[in-house]
Point group: C2
Chain length 529, copies 2
């Protein structure tokens, strides 16, 4: 089933611009087959096909588009164990995690199918004409949202299914009506080929225009060529701050600048409030380490920072966390490069004279195992050293001990933008929590109480986003149904005859959409919304 | 009433960093008083006050925030004729236009007050907890939108009221919960002072925090300082492409990049379809010139391009348009600089060897009168010369004669992004119009049939936006109630106790908001939505 091929529209193609192979980070073995990389001409062809497909695809009936998403989901399931095994081999992630991620990926596609059908995302607004108005009559004005154009999606290394070829960016862009050109992550080319074929086949099975989807393997130069192609109108990316910002800069420098939705860097502070620590320092320590070390800490929402108040309860927390970390087995990291960067990050913070190493995990038995790390600094030192805020991608976390609540608030205020902020609290901590909330709202896309930030539910209310550098656009989310909005723009129609209006805007509401009528939100008569 | 003062929070301040005066473009006279420009320290102080006000202001009850907007509107009306006369003197615009613009400005503030009260913009989404779910329970997840932070607003020269100190950017940012720092346009400092004082007073009357509004006069360096201040989180701008892009670049280069909503450049193509021309070439010619010359053509939506098919009907249109233009009086332009740029733009296109000058308006009697211009080129020459697409701000338009519909479509496809696209059609033109629509949707924010693009209704369905270079963010609008979205971002709350949740997200829906409950849109029980 693995041919080392990419998909340029319907065509399976072997690139000849160099090659890349999968790599098993648990064993250190290269995997077969080799994957040929795309030439500039192949990037160009994928963009041309996407452009050619755009007007047709964005105009597909909602039901047909939803069925396409569901067909992709089914085709992924139909790959069966071959997909699971290849993803495990390429990522070092265990079976349960990959199976769970597959479920999430499939569920996400199906959720977006529901979203497409329900149609709120079209955001229909009708303002009626007022021909008698003085001094000037008012026109008939109608608004809907349409797809922005072809979208370039970058697969992420840490979710070979859920943030990759058929992940959230692809699902939401296809739902919006945008053709997608995926640049596969080089860490899991085989997984990418399998999923790419599933999408390619679904497009054919559902009668979609060929260019609705392409999958490219490409090195950096041609990835930049992809995002700077004039036919690409938006970019979805999850990865490092450096990688994200290089795409942001490339797209800002285009003759026609385009938005880049880069989800980049977050250390996800966890605030341990006094009554909570007093009540359950030991379990917080244990559960925190479980969240920290899950998946070798390779989550955007990994809790890389803990804020607590100096004192015996914090000492108890540190003892519990240390014991849990020391007992944790070092899990295999995704790639040799990620492992190297992790080791460098840990070495750097351990060498910081203001930082104390509290505990390390076990070294692990596989080739690229993540040895967890727990570190401690004072709030005063943290405030004086911006480098302590740098994300270490993996199972490392820094505990910042504050002298008092004012210092804790000062640290909170000094944080960069985050995906999440977590509060561990009891009822007695409510006043403190309330005083932190305004700061946390300004800093983070998601605020949690008594949970841990790892684990991002795909649902309607989720925000997987946040102020820079968590993302390049705090007004959006890359997980959850609101993610579709990244790829839509409003268009207003003034005095169009009914026959020329898109179905979504016709008086009789044939699509049964929720609408805003002269400013008043109205649900469709029956059934859908 | 005019003291030459700016407002830094509640304080009326005379800047001492140089000065600027209003100028009457009809007479060429400088106007009293001189306006002192802000120093860097004064910019800093306005930002500090805005930041200090932010958490309080964004948390004001909706009713109180709405009343604040309405109080601003009333205070503007209470300025009476002094405001109208000063705006006329500083802009060269006639009384009826300024009075109409005042009505629009006041109506816009009141409309946003309604929007604030209704609360859909909070976009409340509640996903209920599923504690029994296997393999993992689901948390309680709730989403609302919050204000992004203090917003810098740049007054535009061409709407001294509706796109200036209390214009659409200010109204929508205040509605969203963002403090606003306005950088006044130097073309109407007196108008700016009057309106600025009206807002400053409204803030005090409504018990708003002092820093919710500041008004600065500033030269370029300090304007850049304003948008690159770390406390400013978004920018609203209406003006030239050069001015907008310089702000976009400055904000992209910040340590924390922020979005700039710049509405910049558009030539607003008008498509004359064959049956329409056959039916009413003469009236189209006349009405087109009325739209072109209104307000000396100083509208973002001015029709600067006409696409038509070669033939006798087009000849008839040109005769009618020429006669109307030649009969038109040259109206005073807003500033000496705009007049100079207009003359240069017209001279440049007139000197283009592929362009024929069809008609000119009368020269006008005031110092900076706009002499309209109508020019003609073939589609082939237009396609070969991108400079023919450059906006000439003022009453100049280029007619592009196409050999056939394919050529017309090719020209449409070659256009840059636009605020508007207009079709003049009859029922017999429907198939042609339908074939143009996909292209026009991709190119423009608003599509009109049988109207003219000047005149932008402030309502729910309006889109005053469009692909680059019409704006720097095609996903947004700067006019109409959707404009509030520019200044909002989503935040998700996971497992917060009811007591800590913002009112908008509480189970009992105390604000009576429309909500999405487990994906299903629901209107409040009674009353509001």
């Amino acid at each position: 089933m693995l041919n080392g091929e990419m998909f340029i529209g319907a065509a399976a193609v072997r690139g000849e611009h160099g090659s890349v192979r999968g790599y098993n980070p648990a064993t250190g073995e290269d995997l077969e087959p080799a994957y040929g990389l795309a030439s500039a001409a192949e990037v160009d062809r994928a963009c041309a096909l996407a452009w050619a497909a755009f007007d047709t695809y964005r105009d597909t009936p909602l039901e047909q588009r939803a069925a396409f998403l569901e067909r992709i989901a089914q085709n992924i399931l139909d790959l069966g164990d071959a997909l699971v095994e290849r993803a495990m081999a390429e990522s070092g992630l265990p079976r349960a995690r990959i199976e769970g991620e597959r479920g999430r990926t499939v569920g996400q596609l199906r959720l977006f199918a529901e979203v497409v059908r329900e149609g709120s995302w079209l955001e229909v607004r009708l303002d009626s004409a007022q021909p008698q108005r003085q001094p000037l009559p008012r026109s008939d004005l109608r608004q809907r949202h349409i797809a922005v154009g072809p979208v370039a999606v970058f697969g992420a290394s840490n979710f070979p299914l859920a943030f990759s070829v058929a992940g959230g960016d692809t699902a939401s862009a296809l739902a919006a009506g945008c053709p997608v050109v995926v640049k596969a992550h080089s860490a899991h080319p085989g997984t990418s080929e399998l999923v790419g074929r599933a999408i390619r086949d679904a497009a054919a099975q559902c009668g979609m225009p060929e260019g609705v989807f392409s999958l490219l393997f490409a090195e950096r130069d041609n990835a930049v060529k992809l995002v700077t192609d004039w036919r690409i109108k938006s970019v979805g990316f999850t990865g490092s701050r450096g990688g994200g910002m290089s795409l942001v800069r490339a797209c800002a420098g285009r003759p026609e600048p385009i938005p880049v939705f880069a989800e980049m860097s977050s250390i996800n502070p966890v605030f341990l409030l006094p009554a909570a620590l007093k009540e359950r320092a030991e379990s917080i320590g244990k559960n925190f380490i479980a969240s920290l070390t899950m998946g070798a800490g390779q989550f955007c929402t990994n809790p890389g920072l803990v804020l607590t108040l100096e004192g015996p309860e914090t000492d108890a927390f540190l003892r519990s966390a240390s014991a849990a970390l020391e007992a944790s087995a070092g899990a295999t990291m995704l790639t040799a490069g990620i492992h190297r960067a992790y080791e460098q990050g840990v070495a750097k913070i351990a060498a910081n004279e203001q930082v104390k190493t509290i505990a390390r995990g076990t070294a692990g038995t596989t080739k690229h195992a993540c040895q967890g790390g727990l570190f401690l600094a004072t709030a005063a030192d943290f405030l004086a050293d911006p480098e302590m805020q740098e994300e270490i991608f993996g199972a490392a976390s820094l505990v910042v001990a504050c002298k008092n609540l004012d210092e804790m608030r000062a640290v909170a205020e000094r944080l960069e933008g985050q995906l999440t902020a977590t509060i561990q609290m009891e009822a007695e901590d409510e006043a403190i929590a309330r005083s932190l909330l305004p700061t946390l709202e300004r800093k983070a896309g998601r605020i949690l109480v008594n949970g841990y930030p790892t684990g991002v539910e795909v649902c309607h209310a989720m925000v997987h986003g946040g102020p820079f550098p968590a993302t390049s656009d705090a007004r959006m989310t890359s997980v959850g149904t609101l993610a579709i909005r990244r790829f839509l723009r409003p268009v207003c129609y003034q005095d169009l005859p009914q026959a020329l209006l898109p179905q979504a805007l016709r008086d009789d509401n044939p699509l049964q959409l929720p609408r805003r009528l002269d400013g008043r939100l109205a649900l469709p008569e029956q059934g859908k919304a």
